[in-house]
Symmetry: C2
Subunit: 141 residues, 2 copies
DNA sequence: GTAACTGCAAACGCTTTGCACTCCC
DNA sequence: GGGAGTGCAAAGCGTTTGCAGTTAC
């Protein structure tokens, strides 16, 4: 998603296009590891020294309302923000908390057959797999 | 799970068998709707007027360590406690937050084939489906 | 010009922690 | 009798809220 596309979405929803908003959106959309508000804050502080956590939370809330991202709570205390709204599996390392998305045709096929059995189309779904990532395995050995 | 079974588990792990602990365990194990700590607290206060939230949190933490229950964070602020450790789908009403477990052969079959594709056995998994329950639909109409 | 947005700080809500008292074993 | 467990209250921590000052349009 490029700048112009984001700007259009804002304008369509009568939201003002501010430097902070653009920066936060571009950052979250570009990341596949579902950062927390605090991680976003620290990542942007260098380029935008006056940015505040409050603004980040407000912007993330907005993006969720617009249906561009979803909030995910894992077992850690903070909320993670996921810009992928399509069907996928969240691969979560139970040691370090690292997350990446797993997307495959068979997941889609399996899911369709479950939905068929259920008898209705759910609004949304969430699939997590907890495992130990390679980095954490290495540290152990 | 009956009292004796729970008592045995406690003894095996060198944990003392207290009235509160038994009550909390029996309650959570008997419920399929994944209550929060506060819901457990209010449900038990009538029969055990001196019970405290602190004890409930400590006991739930213990049960998680023993592998008897799992903590689940949904998009609401509080943690829900799920006594079902086997593969199942959490059916979550996105309006009222009500939860029940959906267990079916096809889910197991689907999951096995995804695991096969992944190439390793995950430690744990979580599958949620968000929908609108009948009660909430009725209120709307 | 003005309504929306930002940044700051205070408030909030759930969970965890510390400690003196109590009770199981 | 001694150590683990309970209950209470305080602390902790991520998130939300309120508000005065600022900025997009």
């Amino acid at each position: 998603m490029d700048d112009q596309e984001l700007i259009n979405i804002f304008r369509e929803n009568r939201l003002k296009v501010t430097t902070q908003r653009l920066a936060i959106c571009k950052f979250i959309v570009s990341r596949a590891d579902h950062p927390s508000a605090d991680q976003i804050y620290h990542a942007l502080k260098t380029d935008y020294p006056t940015i505040s956590l409050g603004t980040i939370y407000k912007t993330l809330g907005l993006l969720e309302e617009l249906g561009l991202i979803q909030k995910l709570r894992f077992n850690e205390s903070s909320i993670r923000y996921d810009p992928d709204m399509e069907l996928h599996i969240n691969m979560v390392c139970s040691k370090c908390g690292k997350i990446y998305d797993y997307k495959a045709d068979n997941v889609k096929k399996m899911w369709d057959s479950i939905i068929l059995d259920l008898g209705f189309k759910p609004k949304r779904q969430r699939i997590d797999i907890y495992y130990e990532c390679d980095d954490c395995k290495e540290i152990e050995s």
